[in-house]
């Protein structure tokens, strides 16, 4: 039963990683912007949710606010930070430094307005119940599962079946071709930031409820998003999801076999294994030189 329990814990963690990784992967795949501030989007969204609930607003308003703040933050960052740098032909490295700086600004702002202590919201949905002898599952687990499937399914369908989604995929392949066909790369880029940032809201809400959130949480989220993207294959939405779930299962599965302190290391062993054996990731395209 311990193994099943650990698999459930791994799946729950993995689904949250999958959502975070998918957002980062979508933005990076479509715009080639190394959006290191994806973790900051997560923090902004989480604090919006917690603040609404602490003000006594209903859960759905908190969730809506988290989504709106995430999208607004992503779009503003694209418009006010990344675009001006790209307009001046700023290098990949300049964009990375600007994104990293944004993470620090957000962290300091959150510390200033909300204090340095972690924030959390109590909910009976996070309390596990014994569904079978020695097998505990929290009511929030099926909710996470449903949210992850709906969010990722909706984004995947949008990218596959709509013309705007198609332009987004085209942008990742060839920005100049998008312009040649009369499509607007700026709009497509905004769309990528909007959708990718929106994907940070569900994990921000769920982590605020299950773990609590603090101003410094963004760095860890960013690391996981990046690892999921590399393991799954850079630019592949399905890959980021698979990578996130694999990392979550590896982290928790290691606890069943090794000393508990190696749980996080297990996730990164998976990452290094992919970098060495299959650098293109699970669903990434191999590049022949």
């Amino acid at each position: 039963m311990l193994v099943i329990q650990i698999i459930i814990a791994g799946l729950q963690t993995g689904l949250l990683y999958a959502l975070m990784g998918a957002g980062f992967s979508l933005i990076f795949g479509a715009t080639r912007v190394f959006h290191a501030a994806h973790g900051a989007t997560f923090v902004v969204s989480g604090y919006a949710f917690v603040t609404c609930l602490k003000l006594g607003l209903p859960l759905w308003i908190g969730a809506l606010a988290a989504m709106l703040f995430a999208v607004a933050f992503g779009l503003l960052l694209n418009a006010l930070v990344y675009r001006p740098i790209q307009r001046d032909r700023g290098s990949f490295f300049t964009v990375f430094v600007a994104a990293f700086g944004s993470v620090i600004v957000v962290q300091s702002a959150m510390e200033f307005f909300f204090g340095r202590e972690p924030q959390t919201v109590g909910s009976s949905m996070t309390r596990s119940v014994e569904v079978l002898p020695h097998l505990f599952v929290a009511p929030i687990f099926p909710i996470i599962l449903v949210i992850a499937v709906i969010s990722l399914g909706a984004v995947a369908s949008f990218l596959r079946w709509t013309s705007v989604g198609l332009s987004l995929r085209a942008l990742s392949d060839s920005p100049s071709l998008v312009e040649a066909f009369g499509l607007d790369p700026k709009k497509a880029s905004n769309l990528a930031f909007g959708i990718g940032s929106a994907l940070a809201a569900p994990p921000a809400i769920l982590i605020a409820m299950t773990n609590g959130i603090n101003p410094a949480a963004g760095a860890h989220v960013m690391l996981i998003s990046l690892a999921s993207t590399i393991v799954g294959g850079i630019g592949s939405l399905v890959g980021a999801v698979a990578g996130g779930i694999l990392l979550g299962l590896a982290e928790n599965g290691a606890i069943a076999v090794f000393d508990t302190q190696w749980s996080e290391a297990a996730g990164f062993v998976v990452l290094f294994a992919f970098i060495i054996i299959r650098p293109s990731g699970i669903f990434g395209a191999r590049i022949t030189r």
Partner: protein
């Protein structure tokens, strides 16, 4: 042979020297602080800084010393690396003869730098047992973990909580506390039935909770540095079906934990505190804290208030004798013995630079601290 130019330079230097010396003497006293001001443990740094600031204000109002205190701060980030870098700056750039710091890992990283430069370091937050013998220049105004566990063990025996699972961060504090529990529990017929080390960056503890449930412990003890991590652990343990009593050391006495519903019933040890005391130094501290921050202070705040006050009390004695304020002089002055008028009462240090204090076992009950038992150590 003295040339005319050499004579002029020498004469000018002789005329200027007293002015330079006088200016140096007029300069404020540099007090270094090495607190975590960013990262997961910034809540502690914030609290320590507020306490230091309040003490500096009170010292100036009381005119305890001749010149003002100027606080020079570095962010330790609660990491050994941050501690070493910050301490080097405080010693070499700020030339602070006295540094307040906290956290076991930070203290152990900073101590050799402080000892080399003969800088006094005062810890009010770290409780790792090996902080007792780091250096003659390293003093503790907080009882260490072994003293806290000594006070906890009789409570565990009385409650028949004999099988204890320990969750710890694999750092000097965590290792020290685990060793202390493994040593002390058998004396009451108890044992550590499981020990689970976690990385300080870990955030998901559902699988660890499953393993803790599996060993059927009577209680779960957390030897964790940092309130943020502790909060996440407590919440996830409760959420994942760990219903046993949860116990920790003085780190548990945090306002953010008191307000966490899952932390209701959390048992923790720590120095005795009586915020209603009429002892003048205590009353001044408690009243000052309440008027500034609108809440009762914590033990940590009191420790850093006392740490700052200790600097002023030592400097006052040095001013009387006309000695310069250096780390060596401060150490000598403390070694001369005597009691220091702290918030909480008069205290004295032993030869290792440790204070002795009453320890109490407390519990959060509906967001308030309920004292269960207290004893002299």
């Amino acid at each position: 042979m003295i040339t005319r130019r050499g004579f002029v330079v020498g004469a000018a230097a002789a005329v200027a020297a007293p002015a330079v010396i006088a200016r140096a003497a007029d300069a404020p006293y540099a007090l270094g602080t090495l607190y975590p001001m960013s990262g997961l443990n910034a809540e502690f740094g914030d609290m320590y800084a507020k306490a230091t600031s309040l003490a500096v204000e009170h010292i100036a109002e009381e005119k305890l010393i001749r010149w003002p205190i100027e606080v020079r701060s570095q962010d330790s980030q609660a990491t050994p690396q941050g501690g070493a870098v910050g301490m080097s700056r405080l010693v070499n750039v700020d030339q602070a003869p006295y540094v307040l710091l906290g956290f076991t890992g930070v203290s152990k990283a900073a101590a050799p730098i402080g000892e080399r430069s003969k800088t006094v370091m005062v810890n009010g937050g770290g409780v790792g047992p090996d902080l007792a013998n780091l250096s003659p220049y390293f003093w503790n105004v907080i009882p260490l973990a072994n003293q806290e566990i000594s006070a906890l063990v009789p409570y565990l025996a009385a409650q028949r909580l004999l099988k204890v699972a320990v969750v710890f961060v694999d750092d000097p504090l965590g290792q020290g506390m685990l060793a202390e529990l493994q040593k002390r529990l058998p004396t009451i017929g108890g044992e550590v039935v499981g020990s689970y080390s976690i990385p300080p960056t870990a955030r998901q503890f559902g699988a660890i909770a499953a393993r803790i449930r599996d060993v059927k412990a009577d209680a779960v003890y957390f030897a964790i540095t940092g309130g943020g991590l502790l909060m996440q652990l407590i919440k996830q343990m409760r959420d994942n079906g760990v219903d046993q009593p949860l116990i920790t050391y003085s780190v548990g006495n945090l306002p953010s934990l008191a307000s966490l519903p899952e932390a209701n019933g959390l048992v923790f040890t720590g120095q005795s505190a009586d915020w209603s005391s009429s002892y003048p130094a205590t009353k001044r501290f408690v009243d000052g804290w309440r008027s500034k921050h609108g809440s009762d202070p914590t033990i940590y705040a009191q420790n850093y208030y006392n740490g700052t006050r200790l600097f002023a009390l030592l400097v006052r004695e040095l001013e009387r004798t006309g000695a310069g304020v250096t780390g060596e002089a401060l150490l000598e002055q403390r070694r001369r013995g005597g009691k220091f008028d702290f918030s909480g009462g008069e205290v004295s240090f032993d030869e290792n630079g440790l204070i002795t204090s009453r320890i109490q076992v407390s519990r959060f009950t509906s967001g308030r601290v309920e004292v269960l038992r207290a004893g002299d150590l």
